[in-house]
């Protein structure tokens, strides 16, 4: 599965998409859902919560294991995808369509410090070999 070129990535396997209103959408990568297997439970942060880059702010659990979700950027949670609470399998079906939460970044320029698709591809490569 190819890694979308228009997104940014963290080394903890979140993807980040810049939205027109200046917020960013956050989800987990195809590689991450593949490692976890069938997802059965998603816990999102509260809307309004202020998070620091790298802070734990959610959980995804598969039949097999639980994995923390980390804030990719410093900012404020402005929306969560409620649909995932009853249908976590949407992440397995299309990881880059199933956003988990939206965040309003507080530090301009921080988005540019994240990995691009090529950089994330190298990371996945190094973890699988």
């Amino acid at each position: 599965m190819s890694i979308p070129a228009e997104l940014k990535y963290t080394d903890t396997h979140e993807w980040v998409r810049k939205e027109a209103d200046g917020s960013v959408s956050v989800g987990i990568t195809h590689h991450a859902q593949d490692l976890l297997g069938d997802l059965v439970y998603v816990e999102n942060p509260q809307v309004g919560r202020e998070v620091k880059k790298g802070e734990e702010c959610g959980v995804v659990e598969s039949v097999k294991a639980a994995s923390d979700i980390y804030a990719p950027l410093t900012g404020k949670i402005v929306a969560v995808n409620e649909e995932l609470a009853d249908a976590p399998e949407k992440i397995n079906e299309g990881a880059y369509d199933a956003w988990m939460f939206r965040l309003q970044p507080a530090e301009p320029g921080e988005l540019e410090t994240l990995l691009d698709a090529a950089g994330y591809g190298t990371l996945v490569e190094s973890e699988t070999h």
Partner: protein, 364 residues
Amino acid sequence: MLKRTPLFESHRQCNAKLVDFSGWEMPLHYGSQLEEHHAVRRDAGMFDVSHMLAVDVLGAHAKDFLLQLLANSVARLSRPGKALYSCMLNAQGGIIDDLIAYYVADGVYRLVVNAGTADKDLEWISRRRDSAALKVDVVARRDLAMIAVQGPKAREKFWQAKPALRKDSENLSSFSAEPAADWLIARTGYTGEDGFEITLPAGQAEGLWESLLAAGVKPAGLGARDTLRLEAGMNLYGQDMDESVTPIESGLQWTVDLSGVRDFVGRDAISELQPARKLAGLVLRERGVLRAHQKVHTAHGAGEITSGTFSPTLGLSIAFARLPVAVGLGEEVSVEVRGRNLVARTVKYPFVRHGQSLIDDQLA
């Protein structure tokens, strides 16, 4: 170097995700663990269980030897073909392994033991044999493969795949086996569904796998095997029990036959035991997933989850927990899940049998 079963190439062809399981390179799933789980509950799935070891116990004294070796009594096996679940205990009553014993014919018994304990078991059995001074042969059958076909449609699809074996296996009752040439067909399993476990020469395993695939049986991996067995209320060795606990503390008192004066290894320790702990079923009453080793707090003291998962059939999380004996059924307990205390309730298990929930009334 991981060991591989005779079906390793078949797994690769079915796109298995392979993992190290007790030193064996085994399929975890073939794409979706949940779909495999549902296939077994609703239709038919198959598992490669060739990593488990068949140990034949042979000779005129085989029965006498097993009467000493096992906590359950092979005297209950009233006729050839019958099978029995048993623990094999050490002198302290600790569980060395759990196994199925088949009475194949007079002087011919077969034990099927876990993969991770196989070497330890063989050594223990050989040592007991030597000290019992009974002349029996103990033969490890690494030349055999085992495929479990499980689900409401499992038997029908097996006969579709192997029509010639229909008459040998059609009248098998639950927990019975029938030899068919060099195969052994047993109506047993580890899923809470109907089906067969077929033991056959390693060289014929791929052929059977292929014909079962063609009959529409879905390959299922260790992931689905774990959620199915937990729903079915079946213990997993190394997780729900080991040498540090007895069957009484593991929900397996029904497998220890204390009738009469039969002198089996561990009997004295078990007879004197005043257990402080027991194995209980738990259902989580909130969102989240129970996992092994999470701490449980009850009105009668603390305990620990031994196996926990999301139950695909029930759509909520279930677990086994080792808890103080005083904890009753239907009690609310608190489980530490990732830094939070979540409410769970103790229930009678199995959780699921033949595709149906058995806990609905208990949660009402």
